[in-house]
């Protein structure tokens, strides 16, 4: 897939298979990597299909089972309002899954990779401009920038959404939480692109000097063809590793935001809000299980992405081992 194999390579036992598919077969021989992929599959499908799996509704209050530790009826116990924590964790995971997927796809992959490609390939003024903007963004302590963005622009965007509801046929944007999703994703995107753009730029600067790119230019290939056919595929390995590790980071940031009360607003549950409630010292004293379920869910997601990124780094860049 990455580099067209020369006929010479065919005799060496990897006939017609690209770098990525060979890396994949090395990856699934690693126990840790397989465990991570399975964990992510379980946790993510738990979140995505929360509506079908969850045994209760996330706002259902049952006053007969207030503050009960984990049991067979309530796998993760119940909170002070008699709500099922397992259900709430599943819905919380759903928020995290949506937000981090949007943040990574738009911020990290689309914007980051595109700007990195443009910056690395065009050089000079454009390169300077993009990298300088990136430098401005990265000279904020990133979590502070995100908090400021959400805290200040959040209400503006919610107001705008309300205006849209009043003046168009669209309805329920604020009530269903779409506005919150937009706010948080914007904030995640605002810092998510910089690292990726720098990485891709560095790769492109190196790859564009190689002979096969020179040859492509010599035979008159168009710029998009050179970019997407010759440059991007060769920069794929580090992009995959960075995106994977970045996912863990994004999950963390999303949880920080909702922990501060800046993310998805109640009554929709989110892992951060649940951790906030469970981390209170008086709650810890009497109902420590409230921290357990959301804590484990968050930890499993971040850990799996990090370990998977590490394993991918091993199989994709064998030289750095």
């Amino acid at each position: 897939m990455a580099v067209q194999e020369l006929s010479l390579g065919a005799g060496r036992g990897y006939s017609g298979r690209g770098h990525l598919s060979r890396a994949w077969s090395r990856l699934i021989r690693k126990k840790i990597a397989v465990a991570c992929i399975l964990t992510l599959l379980v946790v993510y499908s738990g979140g995505i299909f929360a509506a079908g799996i969850a045994p209760y509704g996330y706002t259902d209050q049952d006053y007969t089972v207030i503050r009960k530790p984990p049991s067979l009826e309530h796998l993760a116990g119940t909170d002070r309002a008699g709500r099922d924590l397992f259900t709430r964790v599943l819905w919380g995971i759903q928020n995290t899954v949506i937000l981090t997927a949007v943040g990574m796809l738009t911020g990290g992959l689309v914007i980051g990779v595109t700007l990195g490609l443009v910056s690395g390939y065009s050089g000079k003024r454009v390169d300077d401009l993009i990298m300088r903007i990136g430098e401005v963004f990265s000279s904020f302590p990133d979590i502070l920038l995100i908090i400021i963005l959400v805290a200040t622009l959040g209400d503006r965007i919610r107001d705008g959404m309300r205006w849209l509801e009043d003046n168009t046929f669209l309805e329920g944007l604020v009530r269903t939480g779409v506005a919150d999703y937009v706010v948080v994703s914007l904030a995640l995107v605002s810092f998510g692109w910089i690292g990726m753009a720098r990485l891709v730029r560095g790769q492109i600067l190196y790859i564009k000097e190689t002979q096969h790119v020179e040859a492509a230019k010599a035979i008159g290939s168009s710029t998009p063809r050179i970019l997407f056919r010759h440059l991007l595929p060769n920069a794929m390995s580090p992009i995959i590793v960075t995106a994977t590790m970045g996912m863990g980071n994004m999950v963390g940031v999303e949880i920080v935001l909702s922990w501060l009360g800046l993310g998805i607003q109640p009554p929709r549950p989110s892992l951060g809000t649940m951790l906030f409630e469970g981390g209170n010292i008086s709650v810890l004293r009497t109902e420590p299980w409230m921290l357990l379920a959301p804590g484990i869910a968050a930890w499993l997601m971040i850990l799996s992405w990090n370990l998977l990124g590490d394993a991918l780094n091993d199989v994709l860049n064998p030289r750095t081992r």
């Binding site: 302590p141 805290a151 200040t152 622009l153 920080v256 810890l284 804590g295 968050a298 850990l303």
Partner: protein, 309 residues
């Protein structure tokens, strides 16, 4: 070399200008009137207008910005909107000192565990200790700080009664244990891996083989040759490790009730205390940029092979 330093220093004000303009703009164009927050229940439009005029909030955006920056350059960060009559500078300086000491404690934990571990597993490359240490450090690093702080508190404070549950008493005080561990442990993974890579890099070089060949003892080679050279690239990373601590400080200080700058930043954002937010962001950005510059320059001085154009 000097050319490079001058260029970096000239770029510094431009960077700070952009950062300050963005922060100031976000603060001013955001809804949520600070005067309204300030007055709370005692709000009435007439008084609001008077206070607004008094604070200069009714002037043009760029006039306010220019006014603020002129003050900032002279060391006057304005007056807090939340704590009336108190200059922001007097509010944030003691809090920064608290956070700096906490960061120092956390950093000490990261370095004291990360560097020796990285050095050690580089010598065990290919054996079980190597991947085990990397995996363990990732497991610890992946615990979100809002989980690790309450979990440690539950264990050390509620169950074992070793430390008080919240508060701050300086560097030599049992209350620093939980925040220092929770902020320091995530840094171990990164430092350890860098140290491992850097040590391996040095160990494979010719002069180490020469040292072995001329009959130097293993300990002497490790201390005099390998460690000294392996530590050089780590210096550049320290600046970034410090930046990572800032993120942890927001949460840890808020949960633990530590009167540091992280907690104050979170409070200021919720109180829409713009002068405080501005000052924290600008000072933070300034420190961050300077730390990076310093790291790059130190790197160049300790490793003469590096030349900046």
């Amino acid at each position: 070399m000097w050319n490079y330093i001058v260029r970096r220093l000239l770029w510094l004000p431009v960077l700070l200008f952009a950062v300050s303009l963005i922060t100031f703009g976000l603060g001013r164009f955001a809804p949520g009137d600070p005067v309204r927050v300030m007055l709370g229940n005692r709000y009435d439009p007439e008084r609001a207008a008077i206070i607004s005029k008094e604070l200069g909030l009714d002037r043009h955006f760029f006039v306010q910005y220019g006014d603020y920056m002129w003050g900032f350059v002279r060391g006057d960060f304005g007056e807090s909107l939340r704590y009336r009559g108190q200059p922001v500078r007097d509010l944030i300086l003691p809090k920064m000192w608290v956070s700096a000491r906490l960061a120092l404690a956390a950093m000490t934990i990261s370095i004291a565990l990360g560097l020796p571990l990285g050095f050690f597993i580089a010598h065990r490359q290919g054996r079980w200790q190597d991947p085990a240490a990397v995996a363990l450090s990732l497991v610890l690093m992946s615990i979100p700080i809002m989980v690790s702080v309450p979990a440690l508190l539950w264990l050390l404070c509620l169950k074992l009664h070793w430390v008080p549950c919240s508060g701050w008493g300086g560097l030599i005080d049992p209350r620093i244990v939980v925040p220092a561990i929770t902020m320091g442990v995530p840094g171990i993974a990164g430092l350890m891996r860098l140290m491992r890579a850097s040590t391996l890099d040095v160990m494979n070089q010719d002069f180490i083989r020469t040292a072995h060949a001329k009959g130097l003892g293993a300990v002497r080679i490790d201390t005099r040759h390998v460690f000294r050279n392996a530590i050089i690239p780590i210096i550049t990373i320290m600046a970034f490790a410090l930046a990572g601590l800032i993120g942890g400080a927001f949460i840890t200080e808020t949960i633990m009730g530590i009167p540091g700058i992280g907690r104050f930043a979170v409070e200021s954002i919720f109180n829409r205390d713009y002068p405080s937010i501005m000052a924290i962001t600008l000072v933070g950005a300034l420190a961050f940029v300077l730390a990076n510059l310093l790291a790059d320059l130190t790197y160049a001085f300790v490793d003469p092979r590096i030349r900046y154009q």
